[in-house]
Symmetry: C2
C-alpha cells in the first residue's frame, strides 16, 4: 500500500506543475501565430512595463537564471523584437530594449489576456476569488524564492 503522502492527489507541486503547463498550453495558439513562446511573452510583459533593462533585472523579475534568459533574449533579438546593447555605465551589462516591432506587439496581442481569462474564469477562477488565489500563490513564491539558494 502506498503511503498517503505519496498519493498524487495529495501533491501541491503536481497541481501547480499541471495547472501551469495547461494554462501555458492555452496561451500557445494565441502566441505561436505571432511567432512567440510563453516565456518570450513574459519577457515582453516585463519590457512593456519598463523598457531598456539589463538581463539580470529581467531574469530576477521572472525568477529565472540568466543562463535561461540569455538564449531566450538572443532568439527574440534574432526575430527583431528587441535589441541588446552593451551598458555604458557598466560594460558587463547587456541592456535589453524593445524595437518598434516589440512595442507594436502590445497592440497585436491586446486580446490575449481577455482570451485567456475567458478560458479560465467561468468555471474556476472568478474575479471575486482570484485575489485570494493570487495571494496564496504569492505566499508560496515568497516562501520559496528566498530559500532556494541553500542546499
Amino acid at each position: 500500500m502506498i503511503k498517503e503522502e505519496f498519493r498524487l492527489d495529495n501533491q501541491l507541486c503536481f497541481r501547480l506543475y499541471t495547472a501551469s503547463r495547461l494554462l501555458t498550453q492555452a496561451y500557445h495558439p494565441l502566441l505561436s501565430v505571432h511567432g512567440l513562446t510563453y516565456p518570450q511573452y513574459l519577457v515582453l510583459l516585463v519590457l512593456w512595463e519598463k523598457d531598456a533593462q539589463p538581463v539580470n533585472d529581467i531574469a530576477k523579475r521572472l525568477f529565472l537564471e540568466t543562463n535561461t534568459v540569455t538564449p531566450l533574449l538572443q532568439r527574440m533579438e534574432k526575430e527583431g523584437i528587441l535589441i541588446r546593447t552593451k551598458g555604458k555605465k557598466d560594460a558587463r551589462q547587456m541592456i535589453v530594449s524593445l524595437t518598434e516591432k516589440g512595442r507594436d506587439l502590445q497592440n497585436i496581442l491586446a486580446e490575449v489576456p481577455s482570451a485567456i481569462g475567458n478560458k479560465v474564469i467561468c468555471k474556476s477562477v472568478t474575479p471575486e476569488n482570484a485575489p485570494e488565489l493570487f495571494r496564496k500563490l504569492d505566499d508560496i513564491i515568497a516562501s520559496l524564492s528566498g530559500s532556494t539558494t541553500r542546499t
Copy 2:
C-alpha cells in the same frame, strides 16, 4: 503606459509557472542525490499507486504526452528503476513495471513529502487552507484539460 491586463502582477499563469518552478527546485536536492528528477519522481508516484501500467496510462495520469514520457521512461529503465515490456494482450502497448530498486525508492524517499511540506507549510499553505487551494487548482486543471485539444 502598459495596459492593466498586461501587468505581470495580474497574471495567473506567471504565478503558477513561478510557483511550480520554485517548488520543483525545492525537490531538486532531495531527489538528485538519488539520481532522480522531479518528473521521474512523478512517474514513481504513479507506479507506486499502481504498478505495471502502459505508457499511455502514465502519460494521461500526469497530463503529459507520450512523446514526453517515453524518453523519460527510457532513462529510468537505463537506471534500473523500471522495466518496459511489450503488452501480451496488446502488442502496441509497453507495460511499465517497477524493479526491486524502483519499489525500494519508496522507502528511500520516505522523508521527501514531509521535507517539502516543511519548506512550504509554515508561511503560506497551512493544513487548514490547503484543501481549498487544492480545489481551486483542480478546478483550473479541469477547465483546461478538456479544451486543450482544440486549436
